[in-house]
């Protein structure tokens, strides 16, 4: 095992006991990137090669020099015995929607390919304040619109380190791929419908979608502002807790960031699950989706080994002292995706208005006297298919004559979804749950090209994760096994507002309870080659 394959908390231990230096850690990460990442995504990607098909392509840009400089400065501080931050010397990657001062922030779109922000997002700033070292920006679906990373304008798109013919998931696929491939121990992602948890499940890592408002959105290029949640991606629960500790908390620059005290996540991490009530809901073991042609509702159970992994996790937790409550009804779960289709697209279309070629970003090179023609050409030339689809639908469902039928109705559905959760978490209610245990995704990572193009089917990869975004509650995905196809399976824990500490505690218990299981020692194929 190389340094770069170690967890952040293990690296911190080695660093503080002076067994390794920050420079060594960063060099190890950079070597892994050089070995497995292949060429970085770019607008002019040309033909895909065999090597491309076997590389991760997580990064859009790598800031090796700055990272090494920072590592050396942390080593100097440590040598002098000066106090350093919680994450000093630990490398991380950031999804390329997190603005970082004077560096490119592309949102994986041609329209922002040349955009350099004059400010740093709060989440990145807080990690840096704790001494974490940003190695670079990682790829994503264009403007985060997708669940596979195939829609990025910066090709080749990221691939799953467990099987490079598979997608890493999305939209934080570059983040989870970079963590799974051992390129960085930590990554910042964003989750609007499952964009942290679904790729975390696909890549066999831990992903945390915090409570809405737990982590500031300042400096993050928005998808759907009322649903977007930045959060940690890591290789284990302890690392995720460390990272959340660093980034959580109120922010005067984001008035939707909640003024709720941040607990000490590490202090409660090992407290176990004795007496915790954990629910299982049949509504989270099947997906319902509409056939795009016929309009018929199809119902499909989740992949069998995924169902088995979740039930296995329940048994482990029960063995460790938790109480498992079955048959918890979550009747509105199936409406999560249709409501998301509407709400997210209304907000996305509006959030995309500012990219008009006037102030920054791409502007059509053909000189235009007519402003409207300039707008149209700019947006037509620089937005990919996914933003265009979202603009079209968003404009449609928020138009005065349709908004009652679609947008306002979707908001009502959203309130119903929230009510489902309120009822099961109500401490005086029938179920009194501390968490709901579910599969993160209905399937394991699908092959590249298999679903892309079918936006409806693609979106159903998020059916079990989107509900937390509607309700604003926290959710984490953590590895729950390896399926028959050799790909990781994610299990999800959903809890009431600001229950991250409880969910992390349960996740840690699950890690401990499964630590001797054979699948735990399996590593992504790609990391074994080196």
């Amino acid at each position: 095992m190389e340094l770069c394959d170690r967890s952040a908390h293990k690296l911190l231990e080695l660093l503080r006991s002076k067994q390794v230096s920050a420079e060594e850690i960063v060099r190890s990460s950079l070597q892994r990137i050089a070995a497995v990442d292949g060429r970085p995504g770019s607008l002019e990607s040309g033909e895909e090669t065999e090597k491309d098909r076997q590389s991760v392509h997580a990064f859009i840009s790598v800031a090796a020099e700055q990272a090494l400089d920072q590592a050396k400065s942390i080593d100097r501080q440590l040598a002098k015995g000066e106090p350093v931050g919680l994450l000093a010397g630990i490398p991380f990657s950031a999804k390329d929607v997190f603005c970082v001062k004077d560096t490119y922030t592309t949102a994986a779109s041609k329209i922002l390919a040349n955009f350099k922000a004059p400010y740093t997002s709060t989440a990145v700033e807080r990690l840096q304040k704790q001494g974490a070292i940003m190695l670079g920006k990682v790829n994503l679906d264009e403007f985060t619109y997708g669940s596979s990373n195939e829609s990025t304008a910066f090709q080749p798109c990221p691939r799953n380190p467990w099987d490079t013919s598979r997608v890493p998931g999305g939209s934080s696929g570059g983040s989870t791929a970079s963590v799974a491939a051992g390129e960085v121990p930590l990554s910042l992602g964003t989750d609007t419908a499952g964009s942290i948890r679904q790729p975390a499940a696909f890549c066999g890592v831990v992903g945390v979608k915090p409570t809405y408002g737990r982590v500031s959105r300042y400096g993050i290029i928005a998808f759907a502002s009322s649903l977007d949640c930045p959060g940690p991606i890591a290789r284990d629960i302890t690392d995720a807790a460390l990272m959340l500790q660093a980034i959580a908390g109120a922010d005067p620059r984001d008035s939707t960031a909640a003024n709720v005290p941040v607990p000490d996540y590490l202090a409660t991490l090992e407290q176990g699950v004795k007496g915790k009530r954990i629910g299982l809901s049949p509504d989270y073991f099947q997906i319902s989706y509409m056939d795009a042609e016929s309009g018929e509702i199809h119902q499909k159970p989740v992949q069998e080994d995924i169902r088995a992994a979740v039930y296995h996790a329940a048994e482990v937790l029960q063995r460790m002292g938790a109480e498992i409550i079955e048959d918890v009804p979550m009747p509105n779960t199936r409406y999560g995706i249709p409501a998301f289709f509407v709400i997210s697209r209304v907000e996305a279309a509006s959030n995309l208005h500012r990219y008009d070629g006037v102030k920054y970003g791409y502007r059509t090179p053909s000189a235009e006297d007519d402003l409207r023609v300039m707008y149209r050409k700019t947006r037509n030339e620089a937005f990919g298919l996914q933003p265009k689809l979202r603009i079209l639908m968003g404009m449609y469902v928020s138009a005065a004559q349709y908004s009652e039928q679609y947008y306002n109705r979707a908001l009502k559905v959203r309130a119903l979804l929230r009510r489902d959760f309120d009822q099961i978490f109500d401490p005086l209610g029938k179920y009194r749950l501390d968490a709901l245990l579910t599969p993160t995704t209905p399937t394991t990572a699908f092959p590249i090209g298999a679903i892309y193009g079918d936006s409806v089917l693609m979106q159903y990869a998020d059916q079990f994760t989107v509900t937390a975004n509607h309700a604003g509650i926290p959710g984490i995905s953590l590895p729950g096994g390896i399926a028959a196809d050799g790909l990781p399976v994610g299990v999800q824990l959903l809890g009431p507002d600001y229950s991250e500490h409880t969910l992390l505690q349960m996740g840690r218990s699950l890690e401990i309870g499964t630590q001797d299981e054979a699948w735990r020692s399996q590593r992504p194929a790609l990391t074994l080659r080196w």
Binding site: C99, S255, S350
Partner: protein, 478 residues
């Protein structure tokens, strides 16, 4: 020929005089500043940054809503108004739509003709301003300074019945905004902007006919002028058998005429929805109480109180409540003086107002404080100085900042009431005027006025005339 009735509604945009913009820390007023100097990532719509509401905007909005007798919503929302324009950097304006800060309300407009027009308020909401676009040849220049400047948009019902009423509404609104201290309300500087919706109908009808919208008018006189032009034009059209189209018209101040900007037959769809970057605005009772703790008596209420309490003529009361500082000044002076309020009013209307106009100061900036004014009035009443000395003292106090009493003393402006000094002069005059003494003693007692005049002249006006008369009578009747 049919008699027409004019129906006018006004849409006003009021620039609040906060220090900073509504959603960022940039300076709000850029009147004297170069283009694009008061800007930041938030107000220029860079990706990823977020709006943070300036509480002072809410507080000023609440004061206006209260003054308009509107219902203040304890929970209101911000919404996005989506449209494309280069000077709107986010591609949407953050505004309030269906659940804005306040609903309903009215403003009573006393007309010079004696009647009062009640104007209903249909909309009152907070929003951010857009930037400015300027065309220079084939270039389009954009100034983002104005982006994010806090505005209250206030829309009246179609309640105004003449250009004159519209002008009076604006005069009273401007007075109120300054009175509340929430806007400079200067139309020339765009602090108060007004669009007028104008239609006509046959007298007696209660239907609303197609209206036109007049934009870009930058003074109250021009609003009045533009409406008069538009009413004449609409009457001409209707008389000629044509129909009035729902145009948007632009007022050209130099040519004194209206220009058609565009047809506006269909409403634009702004696809309003709740602004997800801001939380609902919750006014707590404690915050509301704090905002309204010092809510002032409003100008029209104060005017009628001045009439009833101080027995001022309506004309005086109107002028003295035109501006809050002036009316506070008046009232403080009346209390300090404790004499006839009309005397205070006379000094203010004649002399103090002239001083204010000439210096450009407001009443609270005068060195001639209400207490000093009261002191001068009291000295005149007590015969310590005469009226003309009193008036000349106003300027002296204002320029020196010294108290009237000390000026009178050092400059020797007081009336001499020293018995022996006056007696000496009186004796001299009596001795030097044997003929007049004889005539007086012969019975022409009215000549006493002449004697007093002589004493006063000798003493260059500084003698107390009553005392002089008394001493002269004593000497002459010996």
């Amino acid at each position: 020929m049919t008699d027409y009735e004019v129906v006018i509604g006004l849409e006003t945009h009021i620039q609040l005089n906060t220090k900073t913009k509504i959603f960022c820390a940039c300076k709000a007023d850029s009147w004297d500043d170069e283009p694009n100097t008061n800007i930041c990532p938030v107000c220029t719509g860079l990706p990823g940054v977020l709006p943070v509401l300036n509480k002072a905007v809410v507080e000023k909005g609440v004061l206006l809503a209260k003054a308009m007798h509107s219902d203040i919503r304890m929970r209101s929302f911000f919404d996005r108004k989506n449209y494309f324009y280069p000077d709107l950097p986010k591609g949407y304006q953050i505004s309030q739509y269906d659940l804005s800060l306040a609903s309903g309300g009215y403003l009573d407009i006393p007309m010079p003709e004696g009647y009062t027009r009640r104007v209903s308020i249909h909309k009152l909401h907070m929003e951010e301003d857009a930037g400015k676009t300027k065309n220079a040849g084939n270039l389009r220049l954009i100034d983002f300074n104005r982006c994010g400047v806090p505005l209250v948009e206030m829309v009246t019902g179609p309640d105004l019945r003449s250009a004159n009423e519209a002008a009076q509404y604006l005069i009273r609104l401007r007075q109120l905004l300054r009175w509340l201290g929430i806007s400079e309300a200067d139309m020339e500087k765009g602090h108060l902007r007004c669009d007028a919706n104008v239609s006509i109908r046959p007298k007696g009808s209660d239907q609303l006919f197609t209206k036109t919208e007049i934009k870009n008018v930058n003074s109250i006189d021009n609003v009045k002028n533009a409406i008069e032009h538009e009413v004449e034009r609409q009457i001409r059209e209707v008389e000629a058998g044509n129909r009035v189209h729902a145009w948007t018209l632009d007022w050209d101040e130099e040519k004194n005429e209206l220009r058609k900007m565009r047809s506006k037959e269909t409403e634009a769809d702004y696809r309003y929805f709740r602004e997800p970057d801001l939380l609902p605005l919750d006014l707590t009772q404690a915050w509301l109480d704090e905002i309204l703790a010092d809510f002032p008596e409003l100008p029209l209420e104060r005017k009628s109180r001045f009439i009833s309490e101080y027995k001022l003529p309506e004309y005086d009361a109107d002028i003295l409540t035109g501006e809050r500082n002036l009316s506070d000044y008046f009232e403080t002076a009346v209390q300090q003086y404790a004499g006839d309020p009309k005397k205070v009013s006379n000094y203010l209307m004649n002399d103090v107002l002239r001083m204010l106009n000439e210096s450009g100061k407001t009443a609270n900036q005068l060195k001639l404080t209400p207490a000093y004014l009261a002191e001068i009035l009291k000295m005149v009443d007590a015969g310590q100085i005469n009226t003309s000395t009193g008036k000349s003292l106003l300027e002296k106090v204002e320029s020196s900042g010294r108290s009237p009493k000390s000026i009178v003393e050092t400059e020797g402006l007081g009336l001499v009431s020293d018995d022996s000094a006056i007696r000496a002069v009186a004796e001299k005059i009596v001795a030097a005027s044997p003929k007049e003494v004889e005539t007086f003693r012969a019975g022409k007692e009215t000549l006493i006025g002449w004697f007093t005049g002589q004493v006063m002249r000798e003493m260059r006006g500084k003698a107390d005339p009553k005392l002089a008369t008394q001493i002269l009578l004593e000497l002459l009747k010996k």
